[in-house]
Amino acid sequence: MSRLLAPVFQTGFFTSSPVHTALIIAAAVAVVAGPLGLFTVMRGQSFAAESLGDIGTTGGSAAFLVGVGALWGFVAVGLMAAAAMELVGIQRTRGRDLATGIVLGASLGLAALFLYLDTTVHNTTGAAVTILFGSIFAISASTIPVVIALGLSVIAILVAIHRPLLLSTVQPDLAAARGVPVRIVGAAYLAALALTIALCATTIGSLLSTALLIGPAATALRLTNRPAMAALLATLLGVAATWIGIVLAYDSFYWPPQGHGWPVSFFVVSLVFVFYLLSGLPAWRQRRQARARRPAHGPGIAEVGL
């Protein structure tokens, strides 16, 4: 058995402490991102999520500059940006998109400055890559309790508001008529989203953070009709993508160029993408079978084959 798995798990995989840390953090983050991402997809707020991730770059690079963990930068700036989005107004889509776009531009400008200073002042070229694309093997084990505490608080928020949130996601008026404080529930969700994005950014970088949030959720809702099952599937897919990604990245130290591992984020995001494509297979096969049943006679300008 162990010889069979040897090509998959390279020597030292199970004894390496950076790998242990990476596996624990990745799992914790995926467990949070799956269910939360489900609401993000259903509420059509992928752009808001992507913006929170990008804006997080500013926080991460600033934290690096003053010598604090990047996670704290992601959290602080993410929460501030979420509060700003909430104040601008959830209801007015156009206003929200404009405000998000303008804040995003300014914020990325700042991030450019901070990243430049990070590289010149601290003389470390790794800062930009770590913040933008993540380097999970470089995370210190002391971060684990913080990540788990933040993850638990997101799950606590989600457990508390999941029913009112689902109802106001289906239709805000329906929820309001039922006595749901729609705005408060929306704000709580947004705070949870900001924290989740910060956690994702720590794992796979601020630019890729939404991939872990949106991808598994979008895949899960193609596979089931049940909300609880979709949350569970999104979680499992997220854990699978990050863990397999970590294994492959570890293996890649033995791939060309020798001695330089490929980035974990590349594998994670690719796996998320592959899962999403695979989840479309059943529907695609159905369409193909339907096409095969189509009557084949005579040319026409229109035809229906159901």
Binding site: L38, V41, M42, V159, A160, I161, R163, P164, L166, L167, T169, V170, Q171, D173, L174, A175, A176, A177, R178, G179, V180, A220, L221, R222, T224, N225, R226, P227, M229, A230
Partner: protein, 261 residues
């Protein structure tokens, strides 16, 4: 009732009785949805009160069930018909789901009450308009309201589906002994089942038993100009007449059939 700085409705007063169906009739923009929002407490009226069961309506009033105007249910959302009905039972509650068995029993009962057992497990966004309507009625009934508000439930439905919905709502009003207020811009599909009518026009309302409201003199007073009520093959047509419209400043855009119902 003001919306912005415009009076949308004023002097609107009526009573709804349990077991009775009341039609809220008015053309587009007459204020039907606004009136619903006021009754639900989603919008505040400049003055006046709404009492349900003798008490002022409160924010968390389970006494009122609401079926909103047709809206798009996301076909990509993994939400089954029965999940939406379950949100009618306890969608306003925070925390973990308790009393799972009891919740399931209520959901089954409500799906049966609207004849939606067959598609309870289907994704709600993929159901037809008529099926979604039934599920939304079951959702509204799940909180066991005394008053059910239905905003334009017949819009976008074909004649036979509309007939089914009307018959269903009439049965529910009697079986569950609840008051139903059902809005429509077209009164004819409702006439066989409604007991009373609230007719909105020109920001005012005329209300009472159907035969006492849908009359030329009453509606003429409401519109502020002459209208005729014609009965053709059991259908009612309200026609803004050419007579006496010369002195009416809005006559140009009202000089044709105003409400064909």
């Amino acid at each position: 009732m003001r919306l912005g700085n415009r009076d949308v409705l004023r002097d609107v007063g009526f009573r709804l009785a349990t077991g009775e169906l009341t039609g809220l009739i008015g053309s587009n923009g007459a204020g039907k949805t606004t009136l619903f929002r006021v009754i639900l407490g989603l919008q505040r009226a400049a003055q006046g009160t709404v009492l349900v069961d003798g008490r002022p309506r409160s924010r968390r009033n389970p006494l009122i069930g609401y079926v909103p105007q047709k809206f798009v249910l996301d076909p990509d959302a993994p939400i089954r018909a029965r999940d939406l009905v379950a949100l009618g039972v306890d969608g306003h509650r925070f925390g973990v789901v308790r009393r799972v068995a009891q919740r399931r029993a209520v959901v089954d009962e409500m799906l049966a009450a609207v004849g939606a057992e067959a598609f309870g497990g289907a994704r709600v966004g993929l159901l037809s308009g008529g099926e979604q309507q039934r599920v939304l009625i079951a959702h509204a009934l799940a909180s066991r309201p005394r008053l059910l508000l239905m905003d334009e439930p017949l819009a976008n439905l074909d004649l036979s589906s509309a007939h089914d919905v009307v018959a269903l709502v009439a049965r529910i009003a009697h079986e569950h002994n609840i008051a139903v207020l059902i809005s429509a811009h077209e009164m004819n599909p409702l006439l066989p089942v409604i007991d009373r009518i609230v007719y909105l026009a020109e920001g005012r309302a005329a209300s009472g038993p159907v035969d006492e409201v849908v009359r030329g003199d009453v509606l003429s007073r409401l519109y502020g100009h002459h209208v005729d009520v014609l009965r053709v093959h059991g259908r009612v047509l309200v026609v803004a007449g050419a007579t006496g419209s010369d002195h009416d400043p809005g006559a140009e855009d009202r000089g044709h059939v105003q409400v064909v119902t």
